[in-house]
Structure formats: C-alpha cells, structure tokens
Amino acid sequence: MNEFNKIMETIKMIEKENLDIRTITMGISLLDCCSSDGKESRQKIYDKITKKAENLVKVGNQIETKYGIPIINKRISVTPISLIAQASNDTNYVEYAKVIDKAAKTVGVDFIGGFSSLVQKGYSKGDKLLIDSIPQALYETEKLCSSVNIGDTKSGINMDAVKHMGEIIKKTAYLTRNNNSIGCAKLVVFSNAVEDNPFMAGAFHGVGEADSVINVGVSGPGVVKAALEKVKGESFDTVSETIKKTSFKITRAGQLVANEASKLLDVPFGILDLSLAPTPAVGDSVARILEEIGIENCGGHGTTAALALLNDAVKKGGIMASSHVGGLSGAFIPVSEDEGMINAVKAGSLNIEKLEAMTCVCSVGLDMIAIPGDTPSSTISAIIADEAAIGVINKKTTAVRIIPAYGKTAGDEIKFGGLLGKAPIMAVSKFSSENFIQRGGRIPAPVHSFKN
C-alpha cells in the first residue's frame, strides 16, 4: 500500500481541516404547479416537492457513510414563486411560503430556497405581491429562504425595486425582532443572480433548468489554509499553485458525491459550485486564508489583492476537476459565518467599506453583515445600489444580505447559532442617501465597450 500518505492526507483534510460537502441541493421546477386556484396550486407544489425530494436526505446520509465525508446540508431550490403564484387570484403569497416550508420539513431538508422574484427590469403582478409578502413569510416559516434580483448587466438596475427592498428588509428585521432579526439572514438581494446556485439564502431553480437537477456545493477553507501553512514566505506563484492543487482535490471529492447523488436519486447532475464556504468553526475561515497569505488582520491593505488571487486560483484548480462548474463559484466572505471575519471586525481592521471593495473580486457580496437597527431604509437601499452597481458594471453576481438588527447599535453583537454564526453590529455611514433613493426609476444598462 504505497498510497499511505495520500490516504492519510485525505483523512487529515476531513478530520482536522474541516473538509466537507457543504450541500447537496435538489433543484425542482414548479412550472407545472400553476393554477388559477391558489389552494390547488399549493397542493400541487407540496405534492411535487415531497415526491421529488422524498429520498434526498436518505441518499445524502448514505453517501456520507460510504465515503466518510460529512455532507453538512441537504437543500431544495424551487422555481421563483412569483412566477407560479401569479396565475392565481391570491393577493398575498404567505400561504405559498407556508406550504413550501411544510414540504421542506416533511422531507427533512435543512433549507428550501425560491421564495423569489426577478425584477431587474420591472414588476409583473406577482412580483409586487411576492415582495410585499416576504417579511410575513419569513416570520412564519423556518426553512424558507427568499431572494430578489434587482439588476443585471443587460438590464441595468431597477431603482424602484432597490427602494422597495430597503423597506422590506427593515420590515423583516422588525417582524423577527425577538429572534435577532433572523428573517434578514434568509433574504438576499441580488444583481446578476444565477439560476443554478446551490447555496442559501440565494438558491432558486431557474426557468432554463431541467425539471429536477442535483447541484452540489463543496467547502474547505481550512484545507486551503493548512496547505498554505506549508509554503510560508514563498512567492505568490507558489501560493497560487498551492491553492489550485488543493482546490482540485476538494472539487474532485465534490464531483464524486455529485455523481453518486445523481445516480442514486435518478436526477441529472447540474453543476458543482466551487465556492469556498466558511463556517463559524475555528479552522474553517476564509479570512484566515487571507491572513495566512500575509495580511496581519483581514481588512488590512493588501486584502483585496490576496482575495482576488485566492478566488481566481480556486476557480482555476476547480474547473478542471469538475465536468460542469456553475453557481457562484468563488470565495464567500460572510461576516457572521466566518470566525476570522468576526475577529477582524472586532479588532477594527474590517469595515463595510473594505468589504465592499472585496466584493469586487470575489463572490458574492456584502453577506451576513449586521448593522444598527435604526439604519434608515434609504441607507439600506443605497448599500444595495452600490453593490448592484459593482455587479452590473463588472458582469458578476453581487448580493446584499444585511441585517438591521432591531434595537441594536454599533458594537453590540447578535447570535444566530448554527451555520449562521454570530455578528458584531457594524457601523454604516451617518450621511443620508434619502434624496438619491427617492428618485426611483431605472439606472440604464451599461455600455459593453470602451472598458476602463
């Protein structure tokens, strides 16, 4: 057995460096569940989800046992509900949210995403109804995640929707105030949203997708950090090569799991998402990788360059290891879900402005950031607009998942527990963006030439 060291390397990655498969996400199309009768439509939705995903959790557990690699979450994404529900005469979609949540509980998945709306250019009847239902829907459900796409590179930015979402986030924070405004942790505002993202809270099943599909998200910041610890002081060429090789190995494990899940569930394999997804556990942090590359504390000067290198090298290594890469595929930088990021905020090295710069070079955006509860909705809208502009101009996905924690001020801390972690409340600009947001209308799509 001359493979001893290689086997031990894999064992070490799993046992000591938190290598895991973050999620097996089954995408399910609900396009055949429309009905003019809301009740009938919801019954169809419940039946389809519970039938298609009947064995998802069981198969996930089987694969975990077979390969000895943890599969942290099993999830479902569905067609954006605004498209399905608007065939009905309902004037509020909270009942749809409850049925989807119930279906998720029946099949035992950790999250279900798709209480979503795509309004990058304008609202259809169902979009307005769905977005207005989001706060109550997130208040009354547990597993449900919601997302709204407010801009893309070909359409520009729908500033009416940006304004609307600032208000919706505030309402959601208020309704879920007894639980640290946790509703906002399950609500993402996107620009350039992707249709095959397996990660929450932004997963939905795009209309261009098959009836059902298996998407897999891998993880492994701890493995990358451990590999970089062995090349201390060496040049960036070595850093990049080391990340690529590590990413290749992680992705191959993900592809194996994806193939197996697809076979056992008899559902086609969609994509593998290469994102490095951190957890609040020590040794599973993206911020600590950046510090390993040479920044004293995440957020210090050089952080953006280090993150750009990391994000690019992860993709280069991963792309060759998987037959289909998709989703968001990059490095995530959620604050509350990353032990190193939390530490950096507390140490004063990381603030919203630096995080915004970092989102220019990685997926996905201002993620899991808690801000003071009295932040005006126009300021939240303006934060969304800034982030959307970065995405729309640079042809990349960006997102905002921000929590105006009710009753909290800068310096406080809120705890969510589990994968969502804990978040120090970060200060936002005191200067008003009210007049900017009040304008409404659309920011036109950018020119695709003369790039500078």
Binding site: M1, F4, K6, R252
Partner: protein, 89 residues
C-alpha cells in the same frame, strides 16, 4: 466494493485483533494492511473487499466504531473511490 479502513489511536496490545475479529465475523476480506507509528500514534490502513459483507455498510461502521472505542482508537471506513478521486487523474 473495495474500501479503506483507517485505525488511528494510542498504541496498545490487541488493536489489530479487535478490528480483524469484527471483519472476519462480517465476512470482510482483507486485501492489504499497512501499519506504522506516527508521532506515538498507532496508524493502520487496510484495503478490504466488501463483496461478501453480510450486514449494511452503516452497521459495519457502527460496530467498528464501538469496538474501536473499547481499545481507544478511532476506526473509519470509506469507499476507495474518495481517495482515487482526490489523488488520481
């Protein structure tokens, strides 16, 4: 199917005997064994054939874990494909 069993823990008398007794009882054929002491830790890898396994993989996993605990070692069984996927082209 072929799998790799990893046994890691503090060295003491009877570890191999404990593990192989379970394997023999459940009709698991051992194809190769490699063992070393890494930083005072007993580390053993076994390549095994599970074609004739008479219980489920999950059950075997549980029994191995239980027996391993009795002698203070961690025992893990994993399909060989995870190692092939990560380290071979």
């Amino acid at each position: 199917m072929k799998a790799v069993i990893t046994v890691i823990g503090k060295d003491k008398i009877g570890i191999i005997s404990k593990v192989t007794t379970v394997l023999s009882k459940e009709k698991v054929n051992i194809l190769d064994i490699s063992q070393t002491i890494l930083q005072d830790y007993f580390t053993m890898l076994m390549l095994v054939d599970l074609t004739k396994l008479n219980i489920s993989l999950n059950q075997l996993n549980n029994i191995l874990n239980k027996e391993g605990k009795k002698v203070g070692v961690s025992v893990k069984i994993q399909h060989e494909d995870i190692f092939n996927a990560m380290h071979k082209l």
